[in-house]
Symmetry: C2
Subunit: 441 residues, 2 copies
């Protein structure tokens, strides 16, 4: 079957070399011991590397003809196994389709395989950058972010990808007998947002841009985690301070931040902040209302090779930094209730003291400031993990379960408003796109 | 007394010509019939027009020496009588001090007398503009805005002037025997924000800037006011849509909008919107979720001479547009409770149907989206006016009373967090700055 498929697709770069195919059949699902057990042996049979949309159309048509599943991937930085083929078939690696078609003030049109860091590198000289990016900006692609992410650094100002205006257009190839090319604009583009490539193959994106402020990275140390939370929350609520990140992190997490250890006092929580340099003075003025805090680090944010911008200690990089020292941890994805945010954070931090280590990332959801968090969890058994998730939910904290491969079970608060199921029924009638990920199909 | 003062101040431009002095002793207090009765005969004895800070220091010292009150003014576009001298003395007209000292990315340093429109004109070529401005942008000065305003067009994104980060620095001359010059940064600058010049004489400001997006003006007509409110609210909550104004206006107010009457269908409410051109498509996508709305006007926002940008129909220009046709109206300043915003607006609109005509301006306060409003009111008696104000307050709507000359009575939700009274006690011990306006002094 695969041989015939590859014959049909002659001329398109591909490989069936087992180690290469296995490598491209993986993502960072191993952060979850549960997913690790489920997914570590899954693999595609071949990897196709389209060079342009015409290649993607040929691949789609051939896969429909031969009824071969397609799992699309960018750099595979996701944590939900979204790039892991559950039912073999092929992986389509989009990283070669990385051209910027055009940039205009406030908008860029780009191939799905463009790395986020390389996208900003091209738009910054004109004064623009992506509104938000995951902590994996250095390696992740824009297509993978839209298809498998939800928000990140920048979401404290702009909200997540699902907020109106945060995805301009997604061009997708459908999986019908004769594949079509659709341009989904604005709300329509939500059909492919966080759908793990189950609803169409993204061949281009128009992404809205933000003014590229010169960012300053700061660490503020606080003896008490809740003081860091209060300060980070006050910053998130300060619409007059231009910011990109406000992330309080509880001790002992910073113990694992080896390269910035001298800026993380033993036993103390830290607040990691990115503010525009023109807002630095205003931030410091705000900080005077939180006198328990001490600035231990202040430097222009630097993403050049060999440097570690502070956002690489936040979002799910926090888990990664801990995993480097201790493979016994995993994480949750929490969204705390906006109406009783600080109380809820304090409550959950006390409930699992020592077992669940909190860090928050303040974000906007539906126009309201709240905190998401990726608390690091000392893993014992899946049963205990399920208990902890249930306890969070019982106490009003939404958990998007990162220990499941399906969109529905993992979505939680990351669910988008689009009717992705109907969209899939129309455009992938044979269910060949990343099968097994959309449970309701 | 004034003669000796003017002798001391020889060389500084001044006038005692009665008609000129009377003219410079007024602002737009006449929007309020109550204030109009109280203030129409108040006047200073002379007007001084300092050319620079040295002049201001000489004036301050001489006024302290002779115990002569000083009322500072810019263009006098305020509505609270803040520029009206209650106890004679001199008016200090700051409009000649209008130089831009420097601009940097995100910040400008400017004299208090600079007109807002002329400030934007200088910063826009570099890609920047003021974060917010009142509807009187064409005539108002930056010093007057900080000393007597609270927010405006832009506050739907940036919040008001009192939000941390929205005033960078205020340089003030004190009213001590030997006047001092203070540079009040960030939170400290709140000592002069909305203090009507009672706490010091502003001689320079550092104002944070926003990226100057190319703005598009739109009118969306809705048969039902509450549909316009719901749509405007949804826009205000959409962090991914770059916007500067979202203002639903109930019929019959638009009947008075003569120059845009063809875009205001009879009997319908309108929603006036400013969005960045790169967010226009996203706004129209959002609008499809509010199908009762019809776009009747769409044009790049144009502030050139002879053009009327749509913001000149919002905030307190709404009242002005009605007053042009009908001198029997006045207005309130309302802040609706964020937690039950739409219900509260509907409740108050129904309670005074025909007597109080609502329009809202969505804003951010403390990081939260809510709506302020300057409902236009058919005036009968002061007693009825007080009844209507009381009814609003009983129903949870904060009213900043625009029918009083004192800071305390008029502050309401516009009160800033600074201890302006202590500041005044230290820096104006003889109470010579705009006496009568700070009641608690």
């Amino acid at each position: 079957m695969i041989d015939r498929l590859l014959d049909d697709l002659a001329g398109i770069p591909s490989t069936t070399v087992r180690t290469l195919v296995r490598q491209k059949s993986r993502d960072f699902f191993w952060y979850s011991p549960v997913l690790n057990a489920q997914l570590r042996d899954k693999t595609a049979e071949a990897v196709l590397m389209p060079r342009d949309e015409a290649d993607v159309i040929r691949i789609a048509a051939a896969c429909v003809r031969h009824r071969v599943p397609i799992t699309a991937r960018g750099s595979g930085t996701g944590n939900y196994g979204q790039a892991v083929p559950l039912h073999g078939g092929i992986v389509i690696d989009m990283t070669a389709m990385d051209a910027i078609e055009w940039q205009r003030p406030g908008m860029v049109r780009v191939g799905p395989g463009r790395k986020l860091i390389d996208l900003d590198r091209e738009t910054r000289p004109q004064g623009w950058e992506l509104r938000m990016h995951p902590s994996t900006k250095r390696t992740a692609t824009i297509g993978g972010f839209v298809a498998g992410g939800s928000g990140g650094i920048g979401s404290v100002t702009w909200g997540g990808l699902r907020e109106p205006g945060n995805v301009g257009m997604a061009r997708v190839v459908t999986m019908e007998e004769t594949p079509r090319v659709l341009e989904l604009r604005d709300a329509d583009a939500q059909a492919v947002n966080h759908a793990y490539g189950t609803t169409g193959l993204i061949t281009a994106l128009e992404m809205p841009l933000a003014p590229a402020w010169p960012w300053v990275d700061l660490i503020v140390a606080f003896p008490d985690f809740m003081d860091a939370v209060r300060c980070g929350h006050a910053l998130a609520l300060s619409d007059g301070i231009v910011k990109k990140l406000s992330a309080p992190i509880a001790w002992p997490i910073p113990e694992s931040f080896l390269t910035i250890q001298q800026h993380c006092p033993a036993g103390q929580a830290i607040l990691i902040v990115m503010v525009a340099d023109s807002s630095l003075s205003a931030f410091k003025s705000l900080l005077r209302q939180h006198p328990a805090g001490t600035i231990t680090y202040e430097k222009p944010s630097d993403e050049t090779q060999g440097e570690t911008p502070l956002y690489e200690y936040t979002w799910n990089h926090t888990t990664l930094q801990m995993l480097k020292r201790d493979r016994g941890v995993t994480y949750l994805q929490a969204l705390y209730p906006a109406a009783r945010l600080q109380d809820s954070v304090a409550e959950m931090a006390a409930m699992f003291d020592g077992e669940v280590m909190p860090h928050l990332e303040f974000i906007r959801v539906g126009g309201q400031v709240t905190a998401s968090g990726l608390p690091v969890l000392r893993y014992t058994t899946e049963e205990r993990l399920r208990e902890i998730i249930a306890a969070h939910r019982e106490h009003g904290v939404s958990i998007a379960d990162p220990h499941t491969v399906t969109l529905e079970d993992g979505a939680g608060h990351k669910r988008v408003d689009a009717d992705q199921l109907s969209f899939k029924r129309m455009h992938d009638p044979h269910g060949l796109l990343n099968p097994g990920k959309m449970r309701s199909f």
